[in-house]
Symmetry: C2
Subunit: 251 residues, 2 copies
DNA sequence: CGGAGGCTTGAGCGCCATCAACGAGTGTGG
DNA sequence: CCACACTCGTTGATGGCGCTCAAGCCTCCG
Protein backbone atom coordinates (compact mmCIF):
# COMPACT_ATOMS: atom_id res chain seq x y z
CA UNK A 1 0.00 0.00 0.00
CA UNK A 2 2.88 2.32 0.66
CA UNK A 3 4.44 2.06 -2.77
CA UNK A 4 1.04 2.69 -4.23
CA UNK A 5 0.80 5.84 -2.19
CA UNK A 6 4.21 6.86 -3.43
CA UNK A 7 3.35 6.49 -7.05
CA UNK A 8 -0.01 8.15 -6.88
CA UNK A 9 1.48 11.10 -5.14
CA UNK A 10 3.44 11.85 -8.24
CA UNK A 11 0.52 13.90 -9.48
CA UNK A 12 0.50 15.35 -12.97
CA UNK A 13 1.63 12.01 -14.31
CA UNK A 14 1.84 11.92 -18.06
CA UNK A 15 1.29 15.62 -18.57
CA UNK A 16 3.93 17.51 -20.46
CA UNK A 17 5.11 21.03 -19.90
CA UNK A 18 6.64 23.85 -21.82
CA UNK A 19 10.22 23.42 -22.86
CA UNK A 20 12.32 25.09 -20.21
CA UNK A 21 9.74 24.72 -17.48
CA UNK A 22 9.65 20.97 -17.05
CA UNK A 23 12.47 20.61 -14.56
CA UNK A 24 11.26 23.40 -12.34
CA UNK A 25 7.72 22.10 -12.38
CA UNK A 26 8.84 18.64 -11.39
CA UNK A 27 11.15 19.92 -8.68
CA UNK A 28 8.31 22.05 -7.35
CA UNK A 29 6.09 19.01 -7.34
CA UNK A 30 8.53 17.10 -5.17
CA UNK A 31 8.76 19.96 -2.72
CA UNK A 32 5.01 20.43 -2.60
CA UNK A 33 4.40 16.74 -2.04
CA UNK A 34 6.97 16.75 0.70
CA UNK A 35 5.16 19.61 2.42
CA UNK A 36 1.88 17.74 2.22
CA UNK A 37 3.47 14.61 3.61
CA UNK A 38 4.46 16.52 6.70
CA UNK A 39 0.83 17.36 7.35
CA UNK A 40 -1.25 14.88 9.33
CA UNK A 41 -3.23 12.40 7.34
CA UNK A 42 -6.95 12.78 7.78
CA UNK A 43 -9.85 10.73 6.59
CA UNK A 44 -13.46 11.40 5.81
CA UNK A 45 -16.50 9.21 5.30
CA UNK A 46 -18.54 9.09 2.17
CA UNK A 47 -20.71 12.17 1.87
CA UNK A 48 -18.64 14.33 4.18
CA UNK A 49 -18.42 17.91 3.06
CA UNK A 50 -14.76 18.84 3.31
CA UNK A 51 -15.36 22.41 2.31
CA UNK A 52 -18.66 24.23 2.11
CA UNK A 53 -19.24 26.94 -0.44
CA UNK A 54 -19.15 29.58 2.27
CA UNK A 55 -16.15 28.35 4.24
CA UNK A 56 -13.72 31.13 5.08
CA UNK A 57 -10.09 30.47 4.25
CA UNK A 58 -10.59 26.85 3.29
CA UNK A 59 -7.49 24.65 3.21
CA UNK A 60 -5.74 23.11 0.23
CA UNK A 61 -6.06 19.34 -0.06
CA UNK A 62 -4.10 16.54 -1.49
CA UNK A 63 -6.04 13.31 -1.80
CA UNK A 64 -4.19 10.11 -1.32
CA UNK A 65 -7.08 7.72 -1.24
CA UNK A 66 -10.65 7.80 -2.49
CA UNK A 67 -12.65 10.08 -4.77
CA UNK A 68 -14.15 13.46 -4.06
CA UNK A 69 -16.03 15.96 -6.14
CA UNK A 70 -16.63 19.67 -6.36
CA UNK A 71 -20.32 20.47 -6.39
CA UNK A 72 -22.61 23.43 -6.43
CA UNK A 73 -26.27 23.43 -5.47
CA UNK A 74 -28.78 25.86 -6.84
CA UNK A 75 -31.33 27.42 -4.53
CA UNK A 76 -34.10 25.26 -5.97
CA UNK A 77 -32.29 22.00 -5.34
CA UNK A 78 -30.75 21.38 -8.73
CA UNK A 79 -27.13 20.43 -8.41
CA UNK A 80 -24.07 20.46 -10.64
CA UNK A 81 -20.95 18.43 -10.01
CA UNK A 82 -18.24 20.48 -11.60
CA UNK A 83 -15.23 18.23 -11.22
CA UNK A 84 -14.21 14.82 -9.98
CA UNK A 85 -11.10 14.53 -7.82
CA UNK A 86 -9.00 11.38 -7.83
CA UNK A 87 -6.24 10.13 -5.57
CA UNK A 88 -3.19 12.27 -6.18
CA UNK A 89 -5.19 15.36 -7.05
CA UNK A 90 -4.59 18.64 -5.32
CA UNK A 91 -7.80 20.53 -4.71
CA UNK A 92 -8.45 24.05 -3.62
CA UNK A 93 -5.32 25.85 -4.72
CA UNK A 94 -7.63 28.64 -5.67
CA UNK A 95 -8.73 28.81 -2.04
CA UNK A 96 -5.26 29.87 -1.07
CA UNK A 97 -5.54 32.87 -3.34
CA UNK A 98 -9.17 33.88 -3.26
CA UNK A 99 -9.67 33.14 0.43
CA UNK A 100 -13.01 31.52 -0.13
CA UNK A 101 -14.44 28.46 -1.75
CA UNK A 102 -16.84 28.87 -4.59
CA UNK A 103 -18.19 25.33 -4.30
CA UNK A 104 -18.59 22.43 -1.95
CA UNK A 105 -15.99 19.70 -1.89
CA UNK A 106 -17.52 16.38 -0.93
CA UNK A 107 -16.09 12.93 -0.33
CA UNK A 108 -17.47 10.39 -2.77
CA UNK A 109 -16.26 7.47 -0.67
CA UNK A 110 -13.87 6.80 2.17
CA UNK A 111 -11.25 9.45 1.74
CA UNK A 112 -7.68 9.83 2.91
CA UNK A 113 -6.12 13.24 2.49
CA UNK A 114 -3.75 15.84 3.87
CA UNK A 115 -4.25 19.54 3.93
CA UNK A 116 -2.30 22.76 4.15
CA UNK A 117 -3.57 26.13 5.28
CA UNK A 118 -3.62 28.97 2.75
CA UNK A 119 -0.90 30.96 4.56
CA UNK A 120 1.31 27.88 4.75
CA UNK A 121 0.91 27.32 1.05
CA UNK A 122 1.60 30.94 0.22
CA UNK A 123 4.74 30.81 2.31
CA UNK A 124 5.86 27.75 0.41
CA UNK A 125 5.31 29.46 -2.89
CA UNK A 126 7.06 32.61 -1.79
CA UNK A 127 10.04 30.57 -0.58
CA UNK A 128 10.30 28.45 -3.71
CA UNK A 129 9.51 29.69 -7.20
CA UNK A 130 9.42 26.07 -8.27
CA UNK A 131 6.52 25.40 -5.97
CA UNK A 132 4.71 28.43 -7.33
CA UNK A 133 5.31 27.16 -10.82
CA UNK A 134 4.04 23.73 -9.90
CA UNK A 135 0.95 25.29 -8.38
CA UNK A 136 0.34 27.06 -11.65
CA UNK A 137 0.82 23.80 -13.50
CA UNK A 138 -1.72 22.11 -11.26
CA UNK A 139 -4.22 24.85 -11.87
CA UNK A 140 -3.56 24.75 -15.58
CA UNK A 141 -4.18 21.03 -15.61
CA UNK A 142 -7.41 21.40 -13.68
CA UNK A 143 -8.58 24.10 -15.98
CA UNK A 144 -7.79 22.04 -19.06
CA UNK A 145 -9.86 19.23 -17.59
CA UNK A 146 -12.74 21.56 -16.83
CA UNK A 147 -12.55 22.98 -20.34
CA UNK A 148 -12.86 19.52 -21.81
CA UNK A 149 -15.80 18.82 -19.60
CA UNK A 150 -17.42 22.07 -20.65
CA UNK A 151 -17.00 21.11 -24.28
CA UNK A 152 -18.56 17.75 -23.56
CA UNK A 153 -21.71 19.08 -21.99
CA UNK A 154 -21.92 21.93 -24.49
CA UNK A 155 -21.96 19.79 -27.59
CA UNK A 156 -22.09 16.07 -26.88
CA UNK A 157 -25.21 13.98 -26.42
CA UNK A 158 -25.78 11.66 -23.50
CA UNK A 159 -24.03 8.66 -25.00
CA UNK A 160 -20.99 10.66 -25.99
CA UNK A 161 -20.86 12.38 -22.62
CA UNK A 162 -20.81 9.13 -20.73
CA UNK A 163 -18.19 7.65 -23.01
CA UNK A 164 -16.02 10.73 -22.62
CA UNK A 165 -16.48 10.78 -18.88
CA UNK A 166 -15.58 7.15 -18.37
CA UNK A 167 -12.57 7.43 -20.64
CA UNK A 168 -11.42 10.52 -18.82
CA UNK A 169 -11.47 8.86 -15.43
CA UNK A 170 -9.86 5.77 -16.89
CA UNK A 171 -6.97 7.71 -18.36
CA UNK A 172 -6.39 9.75 -15.26
CA UNK A 173 -6.23 6.61 -13.16
CA UNK A 174 -3.95 4.96 -15.65
CA UNK A 175 -1.51 7.83 -15.85
CA UNK A 176 -1.10 7.64 -12.12
CA UNK A 177 -0.66 3.93 -12.33
CA UNK A 178 -3.55 3.31 -10.04
CA UNK A 179 -4.89 0.79 -12.49
CA UNK A 180 -3.35 -1.22 -15.27
CA UNK A 181 -6.36 -2.74 -16.96
CA UNK A 182 -9.52 -1.17 -18.34
CA UNK A 183 -11.46 -1.85 -15.19
CA UNK A 184 -11.85 0.32 -12.14
CA UNK A 185 -14.00 1.31 -9.26
CA UNK A 186 -16.10 4.41 -9.69
CA UNK A 187 -17.54 5.37 -6.32
CA UNK A 188 -20.28 7.59 -7.70
CA UNK A 189 -23.99 6.96 -7.78
CA UNK A 190 -25.74 7.34 -11.10
CA UNK A 191 -27.37 10.41 -9.67
CA UNK A 192 -23.95 11.96 -9.11
CA UNK A 193 -22.87 11.03 -12.60
CA UNK A 194 -26.05 12.66 -13.85
CA UNK A 195 -25.30 15.83 -11.92
CA UNK A 196 -21.86 15.85 -13.44
CA UNK A 197 -22.97 15.31 -17.01
CA UNK A 198 -26.08 17.45 -17.00
CA UNK A 199 -28.50 14.55 -17.32
CA UNK A 200 -31.01 12.81 -15.11
CA UNK A 201 -30.34 9.62 -13.25
CA UNK A 202 -33.00 7.89 -15.30
CA UNK A 203 -31.33 8.79 -18.54
CA UNK A 204 -27.89 7.83 -17.28
CA UNK A 205 -29.29 4.44 -16.43
CA UNK A 206 -30.81 4.00 -19.87
CA UNK A 207 -27.69 5.18 -21.63
CA UNK A 208 -25.51 2.81 -19.65
CA UNK A 209 -27.81 -0.02 -20.62
CA UNK A 210 -27.46 0.98 -24.23
CA UNK A 211 -23.66 1.09 -24.01
CA UNK A 212 -23.77 -2.33 -22.41
CA UNK A 213 -25.96 -3.70 -25.20
CA UNK A 214 -23.48 -2.26 -27.67
CA UNK A 215 -20.73 -4.18 -25.89
CA UNK A 216 -18.77 -1.01 -25.26
CA UNK A 217 -18.98 -0.58 -21.53
CA UNK A 218 -20.22 -2.51 -18.55
CA UNK A 219 -21.12 -0.66 -15.37
CA UNK A 220 -22.53 -2.58 -12.45
CA UNK A 221 -22.88 -0.78 -9.19
CA UNK A 222 -19.54 0.92 -8.84
CA UNK A 223 -17.51 -1.36 -11.04
CA UNK A 224 -16.69 -0.08 -14.50
CA UNK A 225 -15.46 -2.47 -17.16
CA UNK A 226 -14.46 -1.02 -20.48
CA UNK A 227 -15.27 -3.72 -22.98
CA UNK A 228 -14.18 -1.99 -26.15
CA UNK A 229 -11.69 0.79 -25.62
CA UNK A 230 -11.40 1.81 -29.25
CA UNK A 231 -15.12 1.67 -29.72
CA UNK A 232 -15.62 3.88 -26.73
CA UNK A 233 -13.02 6.31 -28.02
CA UNK A 234 -14.87 6.48 -31.30
CA UNK A 235 -18.05 7.37 -29.45
CA UNK A 236 -16.24 10.06 -27.48
CA UNK A 237 -15.99 12.09 -30.67
CA UNK A 238 -12.40 13.15 -30.38
CA UNK A 239 -12.75 14.38 -26.84
CA UNK A 240 -10.98 11.50 -25.23
CA UNK A 241 -7.60 12.80 -24.23
CA UNK A 242 -5.65 10.79 -26.72
CA UNK A 243 -2.18 9.40 -26.12
CA UNK A 244 -0.51 12.34 -27.87
CA UNK A 245 0.59 13.51 -24.45
CA UNK A 246 3.21 10.88 -24.06
CA UNK A 247 6.22 12.65 -25.50
CA UNK A 248 7.84 14.34 -22.57
CA UNK A 249 9.68 17.42 -23.64
CA UNK A 250 12.78 18.26 -21.71
CA UNK A 251 14.16 21.73 -22.31
CA UNK B 1 -9.16 56.74 -24.48
CA UNK B 2 -5.94 56.56 -22.54
CA UNK B 3 -7.50 56.76 -19.11
CA UNK B 4 -9.90 54.08 -20.18
CA UNK B 5 -6.98 51.86 -21.04
CA UNK B 6 -5.47 52.58 -17.67
CA UNK B 7 -8.55 51.58 -15.76
CA UNK B 8 -9.30 48.49 -17.74
CA UNK B 9 -5.79 47.28 -17.32
CA UNK B 10 -6.42 47.02 -13.62
CA UNK B 11 -7.66 43.52 -14.24
CA UNK B 12 -9.24 41.51 -11.46
CA UNK B 13 -11.30 44.56 -10.52
CA UNK B 14 -13.77 43.87 -7.76
CA UNK B 15 -12.46 40.44 -6.92
CA UNK B 16 -11.33 39.86 -3.36
CA UNK B 17 -8.46 37.73 -2.16
CA UNK B 18 -7.43 35.82 0.88
CA UNK B 19 -6.48 37.86 3.86
CA UNK B 20 -2.72 38.21 3.78
CA UNK B 21 -2.46 37.77 0.05
CA UNK B 22 -4.21 40.86 -1.20
CA UNK B 23 -1.28 43.25 -1.19
CA UNK B 24 1.05 40.85 -2.90
CA UNK B 25 -1.51 40.00 -5.53
CA UNK B 26 -2.12 43.63 -6.31
CA UNK B 27 1.58 44.45 -6.39
CA UNK B 28 2.11 41.52 -8.73
CA UNK B 29 -0.66 42.83 -10.91
CA UNK B 30 1.03 46.17 -11.27
CA UNK B 31 4.30 44.52 -12.19
CA UNK B 32 2.69 42.20 -14.66
CA UNK B 33 0.77 44.99 -16.33
CA UNK B 34 3.95 46.98 -16.56
CA UNK B 35 5.66 44.11 -18.31
CA UNK B 36 2.82 43.84 -20.79
CA UNK B 37 2.91 47.56 -21.45
CA UNK B 38 6.50 47.25 -22.54
CA UNK B 39 5.49 44.78 -25.21
CA UNK B 40 4.40 46.15 -28.58
CA UNK B 41 0.71 46.66 -29.05
CA UNK B 42 -0.73 44.46 -31.73
CA UNK B 43 -4.12 44.30 -33.31
CA UNK B 44 -6.20 41.67 -35.00
CA UNK B 45 -9.30 41.72 -37.14
CA UNK B 46 -12.52 40.00 -36.33
CA UNK B 47 -12.24 36.28 -36.83
CA UNK B 48 -8.45 36.16 -36.59
CA UNK B 49 -7.17 33.10 -34.82
CA UNK B 50 -4.60 34.34 -32.35
CA UNK B 51 -3.69 30.87 -31.21
CA UNK B 52 -4.58 27.58 -32.83
CA UNK B 53 -5.15 24.48 -30.80
CA UNK B 54 -1.89 23.04 -32.05
CA UNK B 55 0.34 26.07 -31.73
CA UNK B 56 3.66 25.31 -30.09
CA UNK B 57 4.67 27.56 -27.22
CA UNK B 58 1.83 30.03 -27.71
CA UNK B 59 2.24 33.44 -26.10
CA UNK B 60 0.36 34.95 -23.19
CA UNK B 61 -2.01 37.77 -24.08
CA UNK B 62 -3.41 40.75 -22.40
CA UNK B 63 -6.36 42.30 -24.23
CA UNK B 64 -6.76 45.99 -24.08
CA UNK B 65 -9.51 46.44 -26.60
CA UNK B 66 -12.17 44.19 -28.08
CA UNK B 67 -13.52 40.75 -27.25
CA UNK B 68 -12.05 37.35 -27.96
CA UNK B 69 -13.10 33.83 -27.17
CA UNK B 70 -11.59 30.44 -26.55
CA UNK B 71 -13.12 27.81 -28.78
CA UNK B 72 -12.76 24.17 -29.59
CA UNK B 73 -14.04 22.46 -32.71
CA UNK B 74 -14.98 18.82 -32.85
CA UNK B 75 -13.96 16.72 -35.83
CA UNK B 76 -17.52 16.70 -37.15
CA UNK B 77 -17.87 20.47 -37.11
CA UNK B 78 -19.64 20.98 -33.84
CA UNK B 79 -18.03 23.76 -31.88
CA UNK B 80 -17.92 24.86 -28.27
CA UNK B 81 -16.94 28.31 -27.11
CA UNK B 82 -15.49 27.73 -23.70
CA UNK B 83 -14.85 31.24 -22.49
CA UNK B 84 -15.31 34.85 -23.50
CA UNK B 85 -12.39 37.23 -23.02
CA UNK B 86 -12.96 40.90 -22.36
CA UNK B 87 -10.67 43.92 -22.42
CA UNK B 88 -8.33 43.65 -19.45
CA UNK B 89 -8.32 39.87 -19.44
CA UNK B 90 -5.11 37.92 -19.53
CA UNK B 91 -5.39 34.80 -21.65
CA UNK B 92 -3.13 31.85 -22.03
CA UNK B 93 -1.27 31.79 -18.76
CA UNK B 94 -1.62 28.06 -18.97
CA UNK B 95 0.30 28.18 -22.24
CA UNK B 96 3.34 29.39 -20.38
CA UNK B 97 3.27 26.26 -18.27
CA UNK B 98 1.95 23.54 -20.50
CA UNK B 99 3.76 24.72 -23.61
CA UNK B 100 0.76 24.15 -25.82
CA UNK B 101 -2.70 25.51 -26.31
CA UNK B 102 -5.63 23.24 -25.81
CA UNK B 103 -8.01 25.48 -27.73
CA UNK B 104 -8.21 28.17 -30.32
CA UNK B 105 -8.26 31.78 -29.28
CA UNK B 106 -10.18 33.90 -31.75
CA UNK B 107 -10.86 37.62 -32.01
CA UNK B 108 -14.56 38.39 -31.80
CA UNK B 109 -14.08 41.89 -33.17
CA UNK B 110 -11.28 44.37 -33.75
CA UNK B 111 -8.79 43.50 -31.08
CA UNK B 112 -5.94 45.35 -29.46
CA UNK B 113 -3.59 43.31 -27.33
CA UNK B 114 -0.04 42.78 -26.13
CA UNK B 115 1.71 39.50 -25.65
CA UNK B 116 4.59 37.95 -23.76
CA UNK B 117 6.46 34.81 -24.63
CA UNK B 118 6.28 31.87 -22.21
CA UNK B 119 9.96 32.13 -21.21
CA UNK B 120 9.61 35.86 -20.58
CA UNK B 121 6.63 35.23 -18.38
CA UNK B 122 8.37 32.46 -16.47
CA UNK B 123 11.34 34.75 -15.89
CA UNK B 124 9.03 37.39 -14.52
CA UNK B 125 7.45 34.92 -12.15
CA UNK B 126 10.78 33.56 -11.03
CA UNK B 127 12.05 37.08 -10.37
CA UNK B 128 8.99 38.21 -8.48
CA UNK B 129 6.91 35.97 -6.25
CA UNK B 130 4.22 38.63 -6.38
CA UNK B 131 3.88 38.16 -10.10
CA UNK B 132 3.62 34.42 -9.65
CA UNK B 133 0.94 34.97 -7.05
CA UNK B 134 -0.92 37.28 -9.36
CA UNK B 135 -0.72 34.72 -12.13
CA UNK B 136 -2.27 32.20 -9.78
CA UNK B 137 -4.97 34.69 -8.92
CA UNK B 138 -5.71 35.24 -12.59
CA UNK B 139 -5.98 31.53 -13.18
CA UNK B 140 -8.17 31.11 -10.12
CA UNK B 141 -10.47 33.81 -11.38
CA UNK B 142 -10.69 32.23 -14.82
CA UNK B 143 -11.41 28.87 -13.32
CA UNK B 144 -14.14 30.27 -11.10
CA UNK B 145 -15.73 31.79 -14.17
CA UNK B 146 -15.51 28.52 -16.08
CA UNK B 147 -16.99 26.67 -13.13
CA UNK B 148 -19.97 29.01 -13.10
CA UNK B 149 -20.41 28.52 -16.79
CA UNK B 150 -20.23 24.76 -16.37
CA UNK B 151 -22.94 24.92 -13.73
CA UNK B 152 -25.06 27.01 -16.06
CA UNK B 153 -24.97 24.60 -18.95
CA UNK B 154 -25.23 21.60 -16.67
CA UNK B 155 -28.45 22.60 -14.97
CA UNK B 156 -30.02 25.73 -16.43
CA UNK B 157 -32.47 25.88 -19.31
CA UNK B 158 -32.03 28.15 -22.31
CA UNK B 159 -33.72 31.18 -20.78
CA UNK B 160 -31.71 30.93 -17.59
CA UNK B 161 -28.50 30.38 -19.50
CA UNK B 162 -28.94 33.49 -21.57
CA UNK B 163 -29.86 35.57 -18.55
CA UNK B 164 -26.83 34.30 -16.68
CA UNK B 165 -24.55 34.88 -19.61
CA UNK B 166 -25.66 38.44 -20.23
CA UNK B 167 -25.46 39.27 -16.55
CA UNK B 168 -21.99 37.79 -16.34
CA UNK B 169 -20.65 39.89 -19.18
CA UNK B 170 -22.42 42.93 -17.81
CA UNK B 171 -20.86 42.56 -14.39
CA UNK B 172 -17.39 41.92 -15.72
CA UNK B 173 -17.58 45.04 -17.84
CA UNK B 174 -18.93 47.04 -14.95
CA UNK B 175 -16.27 45.95 -12.51
CA UNK B 176 -13.65 47.15 -14.92
CA UNK B 177 -15.54 50.38 -15.34
CA UNK B 178 -15.83 49.87 -19.05
CA UNK B 179 -19.51 50.64 -18.78
CA UNK B 180 -21.63 52.47 -16.26
CA UNK B 181 -25.15 51.72 -17.41
CA UNK B 182 -26.90 48.43 -18.17
CA UNK B 183 -26.17 48.68 -21.86
CA UNK B 184 -23.20 47.41 -23.77
CA UNK B 185 -21.87 46.12 -27.02
CA UNK B 186 -21.62 42.38 -27.39
CA UNK B 187 -19.62 41.60 -30.50
CA UNK B 188 -20.81 38.03 -30.85
CA UNK B 189 -23.15 36.54 -33.40
CA UNK B 190 -26.07 34.52 -32.11
CA UNK B 191 -24.33 31.50 -33.48
CA UNK B 192 -21.35 32.19 -31.25
CA UNK B 193 -23.61 32.72 -28.28
CA UNK B 194 -25.23 29.40 -29.11
CA UNK B 195 -21.87 27.67 -29.25
CA UNK B 196 -21.06 29.14 -25.88
CA UNK B 197 -24.32 28.18 -24.22
CA UNK B 198 -24.80 24.77 -25.75
CA UNK B 199 -27.81 25.78 -27.84
CA UNK B 200 -28.57 26.37 -31.48
CA UNK B 201 -28.69 29.74 -33.11
CA UNK B 202 -32.36 29.24 -33.82
CA UNK B 203 -33.17 28.66 -30.21
CA UNK B 204 -31.05 31.57 -29.03
CA UNK B 205 -33.02 33.78 -31.36
CA UNK B 206 -36.32 32.52 -30.03
CA UNK B 207 -35.25 32.82 -26.42
CA UNK B 208 -34.03 36.37 -26.95
CA UNK B 209 -37.38 37.22 -28.42
CA UNK B 210 -39.07 35.78 -25.40
CA UNK B 211 -36.87 37.77 -23.02
CA UNK B 212 -37.67 40.86 -25.02
CA UNK B 213 -41.41 40.17 -24.81
CA UNK B 214 -40.98 39.75 -21.08
CA UNK B 215 -39.38 43.19 -20.95
CA UNK B 216 -36.25 41.79 -19.36
CA UNK B 217 -33.65 42.20 -22.05
CA UNK B 218 -33.34 43.79 -25.44
CA UNK B 219 -30.73 42.54 -27.87
CA UNK B 220 -30.52 44.01 -31.31
CA UNK B 221 -27.57 43.08 -33.45
CA UNK B 222 -24.70 43.57 -31.08
CA UNK B 223 -26.32 46.02 -28.71
CA UNK B 224 -27.50 44.62 -25.40
CA UNK B 225 -29.90 46.62 -23.25
CA UNK B 226 -30.82 45.20 -19.89
CA UNK B 227 -34.36 46.40 -19.30
CA UNK B 228 -34.97 44.82 -15.91
CA UNK B 229 -31.84 44.00 -13.98
CA UNK B 230 -33.56 42.49 -10.98
CA UNK B 231 -35.90 40.52 -13.15
CA UNK B 232 -33.00 39.14 -15.09
CA UNK B 233 -31.22 38.24 -11.88
CA UNK B 234 -34.27 36.36 -10.74
CA UNK B 235 -34.24 34.37 -13.96
CA UNK B 236 -30.56 33.58 -13.51
CA UNK B 237 -31.51 31.35 -10.59
CA UNK B 238 -28.86 32.39 -8.16
CA UNK B 239 -26.03 32.04 -10.60
CA UNK B 240 -25.53 35.73 -11.17
CA UNK B 241 -22.37 36.64 -9.34
CA UNK B 242 -24.06 38.70 -6.70
CA UNK B 243 -22.57 41.83 -5.13
CA UNK B 244 -21.22 39.93 -2.14
CA UNK B 245 -17.78 40.39 -3.62
CA UNK B 246 -17.59 44.05 -2.82
CA UNK B 247 -16.01 43.94 0.60
CA UNK B 248 -12.31 44.06 -0.03
CA UNK B 249 -10.41 42.32 2.69
CA UNK B 250 -7.03 43.70 3.55
CA UNK B 251 -4.90 41.48 5.70
C1' DC C 1 -28.03 44.99 -58.01
C1' DG C 2 -26.55 40.68 -56.45
C1' DG C 3 -24.35 38.11 -52.97
C1' DA C 4 -23.06 37.01 -48.34
C1' DG C 5 -23.70 36.86 -43.57
C1' DG C 6 -26.78 37.12 -39.95
C1' DC C 7 -31.40 36.90 -37.92
C1' DT C 8 -36.29 35.40 -37.75
C1' DT C 9 -40.08 32.40 -38.09
C1' DG C 10 -42.69 28.05 -38.98
C1' DA C 11 -43.40 22.95 -38.98
C1' DG C 12 -42.18 18.62 -37.29
C1' DC C 13 -39.62 15.57 -34.65
C1' DG C 14 -36.36 13.50 -31.26
C1' DC C 15 -33.68 13.41 -27.16
C1' DC C 16 -34.14 13.72 -22.75
C1' DA C 17 -37.03 15.09 -18.58
C1' DT C 18 -40.74 13.94 -15.69
C1' DC C 19 -43.76 11.01 -13.24
C1' DA C 20 -44.54 6.72 -11.38
C1' DA C 21 -43.98 2.07 -9.92
C1' DC C 22 -41.13 -1.58 -8.83
C1' DG C 23 -36.92 -4.37 -7.74
C1' DA C 24 -32.49 -5.18 -5.56
C1' DG C 25 -29.26 -4.60 -2.04
C1' DT C 26 -28.04 -3.08 2.69
C1' DG C 27 -28.42 -1.89 7.35
C1' DT C 28 -31.29 -1.73 11.58
C1' DG C 29 -34.04 -3.14 15.17
C1' DG C 30 -37.37 -6.20 17.11
C1' DC D 1 -34.62 -14.55 11.47
C1' DC D 2 -37.65 -11.52 9.55
C1' DA D 3 -39.93 -7.01 9.04
C1' DC D 4 -38.90 -2.61 7.91
C1' DA D 5 -36.85 1.40 6.10
C1' DC D 6 -33.82 3.39 3.06
C1' DT D 7 -30.90 4.14 -0.90
C1' DC D 8 -29.96 3.11 -5.40
C1' DG D 9 -31.09 1.45 -9.85
C1' DT D 10 -34.40 -0.13 -13.56
C1' DT D 11 -38.18 0.22 -16.59
C1' DG D 12 -42.44 2.10 -18.78
C1' DA D 13 -45.50 5.92 -20.30
C1' DT D 14 -45.94 10.54 -21.52
C1' DG D 15 -44.71 15.15 -22.62
C1' DG D 16 -41.85 19.20 -23.51
C1' DC D 17 -37.67 21.73 -24.55
C1' DG D 18 -34.81 22.43 -27.88
C1' DC D 19 -32.99 20.50 -32.49
C1' DT D 20 -33.47 20.07 -37.51
C1' DC D 21 -34.88 21.45 -41.81
C1' DA D 22 -36.42 25.03 -44.57
C1' DA D 23 -37.78 29.38 -46.27
C1' DG D 24 -37.61 34.19 -46.12
C1' DC D 25 -36.03 38.82 -44.48
C1' DC D 26 -32.70 42.42 -43.38
C1' DT D 27 -28.37 44.84 -43.62
C1' DC D 28 -24.11 45.54 -45.29
C1' DC D 29 -20.98 45.81 -49.09
C1' DG D 30 -18.61 45.18 -53.35
Amino acid sequence: MENRTDSLLEGLGGVTFAAGATEDVLAGGRQLRQAFREAPRRSADRGTMLVGAETRDPPVFMLDRGFAYRAFSLPDGRRAIVDILLPGDVAGLDHAILGRATHDVIAANMLGYRSLSPPALRDLMAASPSIALHALALMAETRARCDSHTIAITRLDARERIATFVLGVYQRLRRRELIARPTFNLPLTQEQVADHLGLTMVHVSRTLRRLREERLLHVDRQVVIILDLDGLRAVAAGLSVAPHRLALEIG
